[in-house]
């Protein structure tokens, strides 16, 4: 197993070190060799000669990576589990909108809308929920990307990753998150039925519409205009004798699907507008969230 030098010190022989290198030793043997290597320079030298330097570099790099790599957050780990590549997960996790505070605000808004539906209990009990739900992804997109919102917006513009791709990734993640939460909340509505899904197409239509507008004006303003238009439409609808029949009727749904389609075409045609700064004000809107 080993040999003793003239001074009486024990050393691991070449065969033992080779077995250690190849992983052929049992646990006790491995520990024994490792404990000895930490205190014996001669054996370390001999062991080094048995190992391919390239393999050693690879192992060292793997070790550093295992110890040093940043720990992903909960959302990032979840995305990776769902099959999202780790670099995409990191980009999504950096979305300013997808924070605990935004998710909390989203949940609270939905809870109030559901509560209001239970209090009204009438024919239009779900109306307020249907009106509020499409605004949720808009609020998220407003703080997902853009000058003054994304802390590293300017650095991102100078990077080869297309800003349009970044915007789409973040918009999709915000839309997916708010849609899942709103869908879960709609199950809790009184008299749950297909009518409770009437917010889905308006939600999609308004989201794509705000992206199309963002090719012309500052993203935050685009969202503001879209949300304002929706609120006006809702106010007009409520004033009508039969409110729920207009925005959420089959005709209304077709109109929102068409709007989503047309706005999508505008976004695609004008996507190049996202690739450079257009003189927008980059002053941070949320100073506490950003460090200079």
């Amino acid at each position: 197993m080993g040999e003793v030098d003239p001074a009486g010190a024990w050393h691991a022989d070449r065969e033992v070190l080779a077995a250690y290198r190849d992983g052929r030793l049992d646990v006790a043997g491995r520990w024994s060799v490792e404990a000895h290597l930490t205190s014996c320079a001669a054996c370390r030298l001999q062991a080094r000669a048995l190992v391919d330097p390239a393999q050693l570099r690879r192992l060292r790099a793997a070790l550093i990576e295992a110890v040093d790599a940043p720990r992903a957050g909960v959302a990032e780990r979840l995305l990776v589990r769902l099959g999202v590549p780790d670099h995409t997960a990191r980009v999504l996790a950096a979305t300013p909108a997808l924070r605990g505070s935004w998710l909390l605000a989203l949940t609270a808004t939905l809870a109030f809308a559901v509560l209001a539906a239970w209090v009204r209990r009438g024919a239009d009990a779900t109306l307020w929920f249907l009106c509020v739900a499409p605004l949720l992804p808009l609020a998220g997109i407003a703080v997902a990307y853009g000058p003054g919102i994304d802390p590293s917006y300017e650095i991102g513009l100078a990077a080869p990753l297309r800003s349009f791709r970044l915007l789409l990734l973040r918009a999709a993640s915000v839309l997916a998150t708010s849609t899942m939460l709103a869908a879960a909340a709609s199950v809790l509505l009184p008299g749950f039925g297909w009518g409770a899904a009437g917010w889905l197409l308006p939600s999609l239509g308004l989201t794509v519409c705000s992206l199309a507008l963002a090719t012309m004006v500052e993203p935050l303003r685009a969202v503001g205009v879209t949300a304002g238009a929706w609120v006006v439409a809702v106010a007009v609808t409520v004033a009508l004798p039969s409110p729920s029949s207009v925005l959420f009727s089959p005709a209304g749904q077709v109109a929102f699907a068409t709007l989503a389609l047309l706005a999508g075409v505008v976004v695609l045609v004008r996507r190049g507008r996202f690739e450079t700064d257009r003189g927008f004000d980059t002053t941070p809107r949320f100073a506490a969230r950003r460090l200079r």
Binding site: A61, A62, I64, E65, D68, A69, P70, P85, D86, H87, R90, V91, A94, D150, P151, S152, Y153, E154, I155, G156, L157, A158, A159, P160, L161, R162, L166, G272, E275, T276, D277, G279, P284, A288, R289, R290, L291, R292
Partner: protein
């Protein structure tokens, strides 16, 4: 010895914000090495650097960097892969550590292979002397350290063209010395353009210097040539010379005057700062004298 081929060719750049002409028919060439961009606040330095970094597109004029024209989408993306940009006010995600932030920018630079990307992040953080604090949240780092995090992200991928907007702002003298040493090394074989208010940085670091004032390029040459503009225009006297464009009392108790010296004046060897102040004219010199 032949002159090195230019790596950046800017022609007739003009950019207007409302009534302000931030760039006014600016043309220049950059060669490998470190070039300093001097100019007072509002001169158009940041606008120019943003154009070179492909963040903004000029109203008119063209830039060809590393043989690539950013007006063409494919070339712009290629160019972005080969340039490093440190903005004047880089924003940081508050919850990121230094490592995570630089890693995030590495992803934006499309370094997708995880282990290779992390190695590159470690390399650039070590290069700027932040290896030991890489796991600290950026919000806990000092202002000087944050500037170095911003510099580290610009160095990702070993870019051929480095654009640094006031990189020495907020650095203490020791950090500034380290920075000069680092940028001096980076300038060997690649093109570095840095804007600064510090004429001593330019003198210590730069082979070339440009002066921008009110959107116009007022000077392009070597630091010695800029200092040479004040040759015969700097003198000292016991009292402030009323005929000088500007004057200030130095540590020796004498006054250093800039302008047209009186006959028999005791002329001094001009510095780069003298040349810069004289170039910008009386307004700036008055500002210094005040």
């Amino acid at each position: 010895m032949t002159a090195p081929a230019p790596t950046v060719l800017a022609r007739n750049l003009t950019m207007t914000f409302g009534r302000t002409r931030a760039l006014d028919d600016v043309s220049f060439e950059l060669v490998p090495g470190v070039t300093g961009l001097l100019g007072p606040n509002g001169a158009g330095k940041t606008t120019l650097l943003r154009v070179l970094a492909t963040v903004s597109a000029p109203d008119t004029g063209s830039v060809v960097s590393l043989g690539l024209d950013p007006r063409r989408t494919d070339m712009r993306l290629d160019l972005r892969g080969r340039l490093g940009y440190m903005p004047q006010e880089p924003g940081f995600h508050a919850r990121f550590t230094a490592f995570e932030f630089v890693d995030y920018v590495a992803i934006l630079k499309e370094l997708h292979q995880r282990r290779a990307r992390h190695e590159e992040v470690r390399r650039v953080l070590d290069l700027v002397g932040l290896g030991a604090v890489r796991r600290k949240k950026i919000k806990t780092l000092s202002g000087g350290m944050r500037r170095r995090v911003a510099l580290a992200q610009a160095l990702l991928g070993d870019p051929d063209l480095l654009i640094l907007d006031e990189p020495t702002a907020g650095l203490d003298p020791e950090q500034r010395l380290r920075f000069r040493e680092l940028v001096g090394r980076l300038g060997e074989g690649r093109t570095v353009l840095l804007s600064t208010h510090q004429t001593e940085d330019v003198f210590a670091l730069c082979q070339q210097v440009m002066v921008l004032h009110l959107g116009k390029l007022r000077f392009a040459g070597t630091p010695l040539e800029l200092a040479g503009l004040a040759q015969g225009h700097v003198w000292h006297s016991h009292e402030r010379d009323p005929g000088a464009l500007g004057a200030w009392r130095t540590g020796t108790g004498q006054h250093r005057n800039i302008g047209n010296p009186p006959a028999g004046a005791d002329l001094l060897e001009p510095t780069l700062e003298d040349g810069y102040l004289l170039l910008l004219g009386g307004d700036r010199v008055e500002e210094v004298s005040a």
